[in-house]
Amino acid sequence: MEKETVSNFKWEYSPAPEAKDHIKLKPQYDLFINGKFVKPNSKKYFDSYSPGSGEKLASVAQANAKDVDTAVIAAKNAYDKVWKKMPAKERAKYIFRIARVIQERARELAVIESMDGGKPIRESRDFDIPTAANHFFYYAGWADKLEYAFPNRKPESLGVAAQIIPWNFPLLMAAWKIAPALATGNTVVLKPAESTSLTALKLAEIIQECDLPPGVVNIITGFGDTGAAMVAHPLVNKIAFTGSTDVGKIIQKAIAGTNKKATLELGGKAANIVFDDAPINQAVEGIVNGIFFNQGHVCCAGSRLFVQENVAEEVIQKLKARMQTLIVGDPLDKNTDIGAINSKEQLDKINEYLKIGVKEGLELYQTSAAIPKKGFYCKPTLFIGAAQSNRVVQEEIFGPVLTIQTFRTIEEVIEKANNIPYGLSAGVWTDKGSKIFNLTTKLRAGVIWANTYNKFDPTSPFGGYKESGFGREGGLHGLMPYLKF
């Protein structure tokens, strides 16, 4: 190679779009109640759009209170007449079957997840769908072993579980909710978020294909009022909600004075703490994974970075350089690192926070590569020189925006990390094991990762402290919220 060409050389990756011609979406989806797709009593439908391209994907039924009632009664009947009486090992076979079919249809589900939600195909293909299948596999195994999980405590199922899930991990959250509920012998009414209903409806098709007894799982679509009707329904015994802290508080008020059990997994504003003795290059990678995974639409995202002052300059310099290699664009391109923001509302909210941060006088850093003009996109962003008092530090942004604060001592960083209404997760980066154990006992967060970030496994419990909610999902702990003793 000649020297001239050398200096101008730039190796751009050609587009590598995942094929979507094999995807079959119906123009209109009805409610999945009692084992069948039925027209909504409301007679209303709403449109589901792809945030990456803006195209309309399908229209989806909007369930009203009457529809919710039908679904809950179907679940109640299925519970009383079939599911409660069925031997546990037979229940397990159904759950196992769901897991197998998810695996078989993994590619289709991954593509729909990326079309409907905007997340990069690399994540839906390598993380969301396989992990969803693993949750069903894992809880299938527990179904007939509950008495061993809780010896001498006589675990019993609750009844009908109303489950309301968010738009950031649509199929995975459905799996987190449905799998333990079924394994413990409960029946389910599940509502996906209005902007990402499609993979849940595909899951309804899978459940049909698996011959689950009618009414054991009902999937209804709609907005907040549908969810409110589910929470308020008298035949519901258990509420499981993942979403914003604001809605979590409304749910808590609504069920006060009833004997409905609840699990709430709410917002977060996690501290990701980098000490000067950390493996810095890997820490930078962990920071990127912590905040830019799924466009930052992660309740446990490492959105508050704390760096020890003596390495701050190095970390920020390397972080900026690493961010320049992130590819923002078409969610269906296999090389995309950061896909589309889930909805216009969310993008507006993020942009509002970008303005607030600038107004607060923080140094804004964004990557230089262009983002697509059509669809909803946001460049990966840093706010450098942030303080505990900044709004962008205190409030959950739920986007690819990282605030950077520096600290001097371990006591200081523990105090600052805990100084927030949330307490879902945290990250610690240091080469020293004793420091890790010291911090894990003092940080008030449900999940703490050491020298890694955003790792999930069906065997590991997940959940928060304080305003990040209560109850645990995943692992043996994830069975308890669906049982009485």
Partner: protein, 298 residues
């Protein structure tokens, strides 16, 4: 004052492996693939380092270095040939003034178990015979004993003997056991004057791996950020397919960037890689895979 290498940065092995897995999910297609394959071909140090090497073998390989596949127009040559010091003269006779450089291993390759005097003589033989580049091995025994300054001084002495020739320092990472050691050895080599750092001799398994190469690229990056001085990288041994060469290039591109994406700063030490690249490039030009019998095996 003696340099203290006890405090080189630590490496998190899990983090390194995850990063490598991420590079390997990049989908390299069409134009990107063509450019990448030609670039990889142009970065190869075509190597023969066997006890049974003869003048005949070296001459044939040198011709191949200049004519990788004449039936495919527009192919670059490889970067260099890599031979033992006693074969440098032969290589020079064939390569003459072509762009293909001559690299010679030296310093009691591959074990490095000898005295400094003999290693210097070995290096001098290579240089006097016309080598453009010298590939030395470090004393792994001394390194593992913690005798870092010995290793440093030895590299510095060889560098001094190299004159204008560029020095590649082989760490033999397969014998260093941990990524922390790889990083430490990289730092020692860079500070002692290496122009290139190189993973392996090819005589020890495992030879080059992506995690080890990433650790070394990060050492180069950190040095560059501190001093603005560029150091080259050469993974050697075990890279035999075009696909894996492209994965290394993705790693290079996203770790060190475009400045390093040329054979002045990056090499593949390989003997069979060139032919797999030819096979893939031929398929891109002709539309079909064809028999390996069409590709010369010198």
């Amino acid at each position: 004052m003696k340099l203290d290498f006890k405090n080189t940065p630590t490496i998190d092995q899990v983090g390194i492996e995850e990063r490598v897995a991420r590079f390997n999910t990049r989908s390299i297609k069409k134009e990107t693939k063509l450019i990448g394959l030609k670039l990889a071909l142009n970065m190869i140090d075509l190597t023969t380092l066997e006890g049974k090497d003869t003048e005949g073998k070296v001459k044939q390989m040198c011709y191949k270095a200049m004519h990788v596949s004449d039936d495919l127009p527009g192919l670059p040559t490889v970067a260099a040939v890599c031979v033992y010091p006693n074969h440098v003269k032969t290589a020079k006779q064939v390569l003459k003034d072509s762009k293909v450089k001559i690299a010679s291993v030296a310093t009691a390759f591959p074990s490095g178990n000898s005295t400094l005097a003999i290693k210097l003589d070995d290096t001098k033989l290579a240089i006097d015979s016309g080598a453009d580049e010298v590939d030395m091995v470090i004393s792994r025994g001394e390194f593992l004993k913690g005798n870092y300054n010995f290793v440093f001084d030895e590299i510095a002495a060889i560098k001094n003997a190299c004159g204008k020739a560029r020095l590649k320092v082989i760490l033999e990472t397969g014998e260093l056991s941990t990524l922390d050691n790889v990083r430490k050895a990289s730092d020692i080599a860079i500070l002692a004057g290496a122009d290139f750092i190189k993973t392996s001799t090819g005589k020890i398994q495992p030879a080059a791996t992506m995690p080890v190469t990433l650790v070394m690229l990060e050492a180069i990056k950190d040095h560059y950020l501190k001093t603005n001085v560029m150091i080259g990288m050469k993974p050697a041994g075990g890279i035999s397919t075009a696909k894996s060469a492209l994965q290394y290039l993705v790693m290079l591109n996203e770790t060190l960037g475009p400045k390093w994406m040329n054979n002045e700063w990056f090499r593949f030490g390989a003997s069979s890689l060139a032919n797999d690249i030819v096979l893939q490039l031929g398929k891109e030009q002709k539309g079909v895979y064809y028999s390996k019998d069409y590709i010369s095996i010198d």
